[in-house]
Amino acid sequence: MSLLGRLNLQAIQHGWVIAAGQLTLVGVMLLVLGYLTFTKRWKWLWREWLTTVDPKRIGVMYILFAGLMGLRGLTDAAMMRAQQAVSVGGNHGFLSPDHYQQIFTAHGTIMIFFLAMGLMFGLINLVVPLQIGSRDVAFPFLNATSFWLYAMGGMLLNLSLVIGGFAATGWLAYPPLSELAYSPGVGVDYWIWGLQVAGIGSLLSGINFMVTILRMRAPGMSLMKMPMFCWSVLGSLSLIIFAFPILTATLTMLALDRTLGMHFFTSYYGGNPMMYVNLIWAWGHPEVYILILPAFGVFSEVVATFSRKPLFGYKSMVWAIWGIVLLSFLVWLHHFFTMGAGADVNAFFGIMTMAIAVPTGVKIFNWLFTMYRGRVRFATPMLWFMGFVALFTVGGVAGVIMALPPADFQLHNSLFLVAHFHTMIVGGVVFGYLAGLTYWFPKFTGFKLNERLGRYAFYCWFFGFLLAFVPLYILGLMGATRRLDHYDPSLGWHQLFIVAGIGVAVICAGVGFQVLQLIVSIRQRKQNLDTTGDPWNGRTLEWSTASPPPAYNYAVIPNVENKDAFWAMKKLKTPLPETRYESITMPKNTIMPLVIASFAFALGFGMIWHMYWLSILGLLAIISCIVIRGSADEHEYVLSAAQVRQTEEALKERYV
């Protein structure tokens, strides 16, 4: 066996469409490197970002990385719709079937694992410690490691664009198609190892924040006084802790099949592909609730703040979250009613699925009644909420229909299904996180985003979404299945695919406005400064500290007596406690998380290309890093009371 495994020059030659992607990727990287060198930012990058263990900075990195991944996923989506708008009858479009299949596989994988999960962990990192009145997360080092594992998983997956190729199997890589017999190339291995590296990061993060929420709340903040975002995140984290090990195990078994010739999921030799389908959805269905729960949490904060009223039905909301958490583990089979499990089994899972509509509906009514008798201000986060309710309700009805097994037989794997889950994930998850980003943006930058461009972005997203996905509902009923790179003109699908393509273009315009919004807001930041730390007249603790907060979040840990802690403090005009600064212990910066994740990257790369020496070295290096880190003593430093006082006074005098 050669030192390079199965890697050779052919791995980077794939025709002009991919060449354009490769050149863009390499070009952007060179530009960034050049810029950093030219502006002498390397030291800054090292000190402030690469070695940081501050959850606020890690959160920003999550969001930036997720944003880049989102642009890639959006490009994939645009290419898919462009192909479908032209590839009719004699015309086979500009993408080969194999390339088209790689693109939709990449689109799904990237959007779920790297856009949605990235935005979610970004917001959790930014907001949770502040909301519970904590100075840090439970395990800062582990937190940085999680981020870098996530980022390295994403890089590994994107490397497939330059070297080799990606899976052409759909985003969940069902066997036997994803087995060696039908997919002998490196594509599925890239999928497995990219997700494996990122997935371990997610699991570690799940544990970390679970401990943070349970153990590090400010004094007085009992669970039932916790902000609803934290409750939602807690629900999501418990799902992560139970679901992600299933993903890790499933991916490992598929990797064993592909690498060591085992037969967990092959068609032959007693393997059972149906087992894989069950396992992957036993992770996959909780995964969608992992994503949506924090988005629900965002809306709970946004609606209350912008209606200037407490959240309606706090207890109902908490029960609803835990109802969803429990039920989300009892519905996975609805993804394959068509496998023929039998009427009893199908009916059970169908009914469990419908049952989820109950707590979800309760949440929607509670949000609506939060607006009732409020003073509702329609800032952009509130617009995202309105769009969310409008879309999510329709998507929910589509979901309830498909929960009826016989109805699902007619809708499964059709574009109706695609339209349904995009309505839930774009309308729910994406709108939720975009609302959250706009809402908390001033907290982490010290200035607000431009409102006008934000509104333009919202309208493009909302109407673009309708244009892009209403046709898909109809196409599904017309018998159009998902994942078609080509179809016959006699089917009468062409016009609707063109409308859907226009819709995607409008959504792209929305994203364009968002990029513009970011640039304009940074340039005009002086006009939109958040000088008070409380730009929206907020209700929860994070608005009680400066924007952006100092590294230690709170010089004095607040004492919590009410649900909307900060609102109550403002209303009762609680006199600020006598500021008696004390010394604060902070974790030291360290490059070790990035090093560990880089070795995980090497391990994955070695497994993909059969360079086993590299994988073994990577694994040994990771173990050594953990040992080295474990045996060192000095992980923390102390900020003296005088230093804290100095920082606090500087913060106060900034805008005077």
């Binding site: 407490p310 009893d344 229909i401 009826l404 016989p406 018998g479």
Partner: protein, 295 residues
């Protein structure tokens, strides 16, 4: 533009779009909503019932969303403002209770319909059912008629008003066998036979397709399901009998090779027990199983 002009322009645009959409939908061919058989008919009715029941929740949500947003907008100082209102047990009981009742109704529907429309359940009819064995291949569909001893590729015929018993397997990655206008789909998987029972009540050529990604030629893996009168069906079978092609092991092996020309082919006869052989070969003991590479 004033708010009023904006609203008017918005309404005009919305009406215009709805008009275009309605005109389009009237002329469009929507198989799932225009079923040509009893199974498709019942599945369509189920979809419609579920939508209607959901409206009980959907309409109030939309009314309140727009109504509350308008009434309690910041600029409207006439609206009541209750900054301490944070819940109401009776109200919350309503929106726990009503959805629970609705879902209970839907649950009963789900249980009954799952059993009634179980794809494995044979249809009751005065006429004898016709057996058709279906094999998903890379990337084509093979139909074997065990009673008539004929076979065809990418095209099959069935008499109307007669229940069809499909036995479905795959000698390729997983596929899904779907004829939208006749009724729901079921997976085609190697090493096992799934069943589907359908019936056509109207003559016509119906689109059949694979609904599950199975590799490069998946998109064009279509077939025609032709429902004809019994005499036309018999004539077709007699025609097939005159075909020079016989589906023996060699012919099958050639057919099973990956290819996506999507051609129609007919066979005067198929090797006895071919379908069971295809299913069973995946169950063969290890030392008989074909090499993985040479599938």
């Amino acid at each position: 533009m004033s708010t009023k002009t904006k609203t008017v322009v918005g309404v005009v645009i919305a009406v215009f779009i709805l008009f275009i959409a309605a005109t389009y939908l009237r002329s469009a061919n929507i198989p799932v909503l225009e079923p040509a058989g009893p199974i498709g008919q019942k599945e369509k009715r189920l979809i419609v019932e579920a939508v209607l029941l959901s409206l009980v929740v959907v309409i109030p949500v939309y009314v309140m969303l727009v109504g509350f947003a308008w009434r309690y907008r910041e600029g409207n100082k006439k609206a009541k403002y209750s900054p301490e209102l944070d819940g109401s047990r009776p109200l919350e009981s309503i929106w726990w209770g009503v959805p629970i009742i609705l879902i209970t109704i839907l649950a009963v529907i789900a249980w009954r319909s799952s059993h009634e429309l179980d794809p494995f359940r044979s249809l009751s009819s005065t006429k004898p059912p016709l057996d058709i064995q279906v094999v998903a291949l890379d990337w084509k569909w093979l139909f074997i008629y065990p009673q008539q001893d004929v076979a065809s590729v990418n095209y099959f015929r069935m008499p109307v008003d007669r229940p069809i018993n499909f036995q479905i397997t795959s000698d390729a990655p997983m596929n899904s066998f779907w004829i939208p206008q006749l009724g729901g789909q079921i997976y085609a998987m190697s090493g096992m036979a799934t069943q589907l029972h359908l019936e056509a009540t109207k003559t016509g050529d119906y689109l059949g397709e694979s609904a599950n990604i199975s590799g490069e030629g998946f998109a064009d893996m279509h077939f025609t399901a032709a429902a004809t009168s019994q005499p036309d069906f018999d004539a077709w079978v007699r025609g097939l009998k005159k075909s020079p092609n016989i589906l023996g092991q060699t012919a099958y092996d050639r057919l099973a090779r990956p290819g996506h020309d999507n051609l129609v082919a007919y066979y005067a006869s198929a090797q006895a027990g071919l379908f069971d052989q295809i299913v069973n070969k995946y169950e063969a003991p290890v030392y008989f199983a074909p090499a993985e590479a040479g599938l």
